[in-house]
Symmetry: D2
Subunit: 253 residues, 4 copies
């Protein structure tokens, strides 16, 4: 068998080991999810089923990968943060990126009906992924704040936009024009004065996104403590969050 | 909104553009598919349903990505070859790798029942992926020969092993011992003399793997020619294959 | 000795192996050589001593590194082309880049007086370097044509500019204004009509740059053939050059 | 001018920007300096002229590159540490690496006679270079300790070896055999008992290497404070060093 004469092609695979002791974040984004959400009649501005499915697919990732200490999701994107000293797959970038990406993608399809019931998935969705390194814990906290600030801005806009369209009977173009140039306070006022909607009372999952984290949970009877994956929807832009969860990015975690 | 003070974290995302005018191959591999195949009662040594599902998921990839000129699959792995001058996603490595990986993974779950009928998928499968560059067409041909030589060696071994176990009633350990140190001719002889099985007459898809390629197909009535994705199971180790398919890697393709 | 507890820092050095069987080009550029040329009274538009020193430093590089098959220099830059299958330093990028860069830099200083005589070198010069990969021989040929086209454009401009300044007694600003918007034919005409200078008769080394290559040379008496490093100043933009030097990029070379 | 048709080759030059806010260390090593030191009659085990020339070449680097906050040299190697938030050359790896490497190499030749007087430099030396990233200040401190521990081990060995050869009249092979398997205490004892040499009283520059740093220096008369580059030879393995120089790696520095 002339196998050996072809094996030289293996050498073209280059090493992609990531810098040690540095935070690794994998972020997945739905591809063409604007169209995907229309094809599947997602509620506007937010579809709680879709968000819960995202969270459940992310939960599958955290369940499989103990070295992922945190997940943060909003809209059609999800970020996964590895503990900084992970040596999973020898820190090879493509391996880390694709196993997370694949697990999330196949879980999204596999658990679709758990959240969408009889409404069928029309076609397999696609998520792209990227991998980014951060040298310090401060960077990672700013990363999370960056993504959560993004939720706030987008969700306030979308809430105002779809309220104008669905309740205000404006066309999408009219709604867009109406909101052009407005700041947050303006949008809050439109929602409150014209539609009696207090944005602050919107669901936290819509306003804050979802943080998946590992927490010690006391078992009722035995008193034993196990680590459970829980999702919370707090305001990470506030400092008291980081006081409350001071060990969130614990490198030992 | 203090968004801008966090946006600096975007700068940590580094450019991963791949060398221009160079062949890009993405290879996906099933993770823990030994266990996965047992959990889903795959036929041994080959399960035609599983192979066809792999091919169908790969077909979805080629259907979506016109710049993938070839796919080659065997067992639980699939390689996708981009035409060398592709500029898809500006040749950014992570983007190319993850969209292919995600599309394949979600398609595998989505189309599972098309091939496995009522036998349920027990859990979401995972495929890892890697991306490799090859500077010349000769390298790419050798890559394909390398993967096909791999099929040959593995499939002959597996066919002999499982025939000894299933028909010869050997234990797995006994079968392994029996085959230890044998060359191809020995395995062929065991199969033929002891089990009257002519390995050469085994299904081509088992012996050769599957090559997915784009071929011009003439429409019956109008005479118009369209490009269709077809799967073949030829012997790429023979030179006549490369004469027959001389434009397979046509850079214009 | 607590040596071992610090050795972990070695692991942060990542692999930078370059793609196999791909052309490696290292290009060095003088840093702030506009000022350097003024500080050392370089003749304008070209200083033959400076060009010869560049060539001699490059010659030292080719003499030391047998896997460099070609050098091409012009003005304050020099490119070195490795044969595509080189395995020097296991194709580690930083190693290849810095040894070439260092040898060239130290040679430039070491051999300064060989070309500049008693005119002292005022301070140590600096050359930066970059490393670029090319998958095909056609790319490498186009690279050489690109650099030589650059010489032509720059040298014709500089010749016209400095002739206007030195012989035409224009100020630099006036000369620049005079040449603004002119094409090659205009500059040739200015030189010929106003200064009786036929640009085509300028020294080839000024118009074409210098190509350092390895050529078989017959020894007078014994008839033995050895490989010598020679410099030529031909027009690589013409096809006849590539016919004459058909083995220039011979991968076996 | 057909320039544009070749310019596409520029696109093959890929981005090599280094991760932001991460410590960049460039380390240079003399190539074949064992031979170089023999060719230039370096004193054994240490040649103070050679070490001072290394320090002076490194001083030229720090003088030119304000973003290099520290240099550390020993034997034929020198490390340069950039402040972690440097944006010099947009943090492009090859640019940083080669300009440091070139400046050092050309300075080594340029200033040779300042330290070696009439003893001629026989040929241009070569230094290779590498670039390594460290995410935290603790890593950088461990890096410096790693290099200094290396000096200690090597210098004690070399001192014992050359004392045995030069004063003890052993052959190199005999000296090597004599030291085989000895620990530090053994070597100290050989030096002290047999040659009355107290290793602790050897020159600090031999035992510790040289650290080049920037320090505020008060001008005698005016009282103005300027930043000066000074070299020290302290023991970085002791914690009191890091207390004394608590701002050595100040990111603001």
């Amino acid at each position: 068998m002339a196998k050996s004469s072809f094996e030289y092609v293996k050498k073209f695979e280059l090493d992609d080991t990531l810098l040690p002791d540095t935070w690794i974040i994998v972020r997945l984004d739905g591809k063409c999810f604007h169209k995907f959400s229309e094809d599947h009649n997602f509620m506007k501005p937010n579809d709680i089923r879709a968000l819960k499915l995202m969270n459940y697919a992310a939960y599958q990732v955290l369940k499989d990968f103990n070295d992922v200490c945190l997940g943060y999701g909003q809209s059609d994107e999800y970020s996964f943060i590895f503990k900084k000293n992970t040596t999973l797959y020898k820190r090879r970038a493509a391996k880390l990126l694709t196993t997370i990406n694949s697990k999330f993608s196949s879980s999204y399809v596999y658990y679709w009906s758990k959240f969408f019931g009889t409404q069928a998935l029309q076609y397999p969705p696609v998520f792209d992924g990227r991998i980014v390194l951060y040298p310090s814990e401060a960077n990672v906290i700013d990363y999370l704040k960056w993504r959560q600030a993004d939720v706030h801005i987008n969700n306030l806009y979308n809430t105002a936009f779809w309220t104008l369209v669905l309740q205000g009977k404006l066309s999408p173009a009219q709604a867009e024009k109406r909101l052009c140039g407005t700041v947050s306070a303006d949008k809050n006022e439109i929602l409150f004065k014209e539609f009696n909607l207090n944005y602050n009372k919107e669901k936290e999952i819509f306003k804050r996104g979802s943080l998946l984290l590992r927490q010690p949970v006391k078992m009722d009877e035995s008193g034993a403590v196990i680590s459970a994956i829980v999702d919370i929807h707090d305001d990470m832009l506030k400092e008291k969050f980081w006081v409350k969860y001071e060990n969130l990015l614990d490198t030992k975690g």
